[in-house]
Assembly symmetry: C2
Homo-oligomer: 202 residues x 2
DNA sequence: GGCCGATGTTAGTCATCATTAACGTTACCG
DNA sequence: CGGTAACGTTAATGATGACTAACATCGGCC
């Protein structure tokens, strides 16, 4: 089945099962880790049992690969689109923050899996995912470079990772605050953390 | 080197094996997850092969439990000690930040395992670990309440988790900056993030 | 010099699990 | 209608892995 180009949808929407499986698997992987979840578990979570999964994915690792590839692509593409649309660096940073916060609040499981399970993705796909992650980080670093010149790339990269850690803490404080309030809290904290007057002295 | 009785010999140092195993296991668990590491792997990492581990721990889960219990205890006890020693809330927060940053920089693997693998700890120990974690968080929330009155407990708790995420990002930006610089960067970012003027308006 | 406790070793054992095989069941399409 | 493709199902199959058993080694100590 190379190039399934006909949009003729048989009965059920083509691939609706795939999405359902990916969604259920994300939750399970986030909760118990890739190796802590069996094919049976995933099947049970979508109502079918066990090996039915092989009708949709070539294997467990392929499923994970697709999941992480999709996340990386969504983050990178929406990030880069909104950066190029932004009028200035200030606005670009706001867009990036908005992107990441929205994703972290709406898809905590994907965020969790995304930064834990790269090591279980087989090699062909792993490189592509890593590349997208790196591009996404560089997007941030570039914007921050413009906004805070005089700070080293290394420092900005470390700061970016720190902000990711801050924003991606949502799975840990689930339900403490209403989402809108949480979003504003995270945005404020992230902006303040990034604006810290560098680290030269002392 | 034959039959020298001082404990300086490379042969064995009483009780060092347990610590060695815990250390090696921490690195492996952090890298591949609890279920991604076999007893054989852990044995190999300390030079002995396989089931030798059962001379020191009653099982794989018990090993994990001891590891996490130790981390939780160290964080909580050093945190609470230094808070009670502090002259004021300002100083207490500095101490807490110092604690956490020092731990995150010196033991990234333990930090990683600590917030990923609680779910694999069997029930008797899990409760104790969770309790210590909660106490540690409350330590932070109490100090922050005093420092920033008028902000809700829930908001401060969420902010605390966010700062943990920020500080615990060290495993992701390994080696970008020299440790001392990294420490100051993290401290500055955390302080700035916490000082953000609340979330009331809008 | 001979017991002993601490520590390893190698060869099972028994589960669990990913993956495959072999075999329905629909629903659409000609 | 009959074919067929999408989608499931229940049994193998073959690895891997946690844990146990039976058997060393070796230093210390009476």
């Amino acid at each position: 089945m190379r190039g399934v180009t006909t949009d003729r949808t048989p009965t059920r929407v083509r691939g609706s099962r795939r999405a359902e499986i990916l969604d259920a698997a994300a939750g399970l992987f986030a909760a118990r880790g890739f190796h802590g979840v069996s094919i049976e578990d995933i099947g049970a979570a979508v109502g079918t049992s066990g090996p039915a999964l092989y009708r949709h994915f070539s294997g467990k690792e392929a499923l994970l690969a697709e999941m992480l590839l999709d996340v990386s692509e969504r983050l990178h593409s929406s990030g880069s689109r909104r950066v190029t649309e932004a009028a200035d660096a200030e606005e670009a940073l706001d867009s990036l923050l908005g992107c990441q916060i929205e994703f972290a609040l709406n898809h905590p499981a994907l965020i969790t899996v995304h930064d834990r399970e790269l090591g279980n993705v087989p090699e062909p796909a792993r490189r592509r995912i890593r590349r997208l992650q790196r591009l996404y980080v560089e997007e941030w670093v570039t914007v921050l470079s413009e906004l805070y010149p005089g700070r080293s790339q290394a420092s900005l990269r470390a700061a970016t990772h720190a902000v990711f850690g801050l924003l991606n803490s949502t799975p840990h404080s689930a339900g403490e605050l209403p989402p809108a309030v949480m979003a504003e809290l995270l945005r404020g904290m992230a902006r303040a953390a990034l604006a810290v007057p560098s680290v030269r002295n002392r």
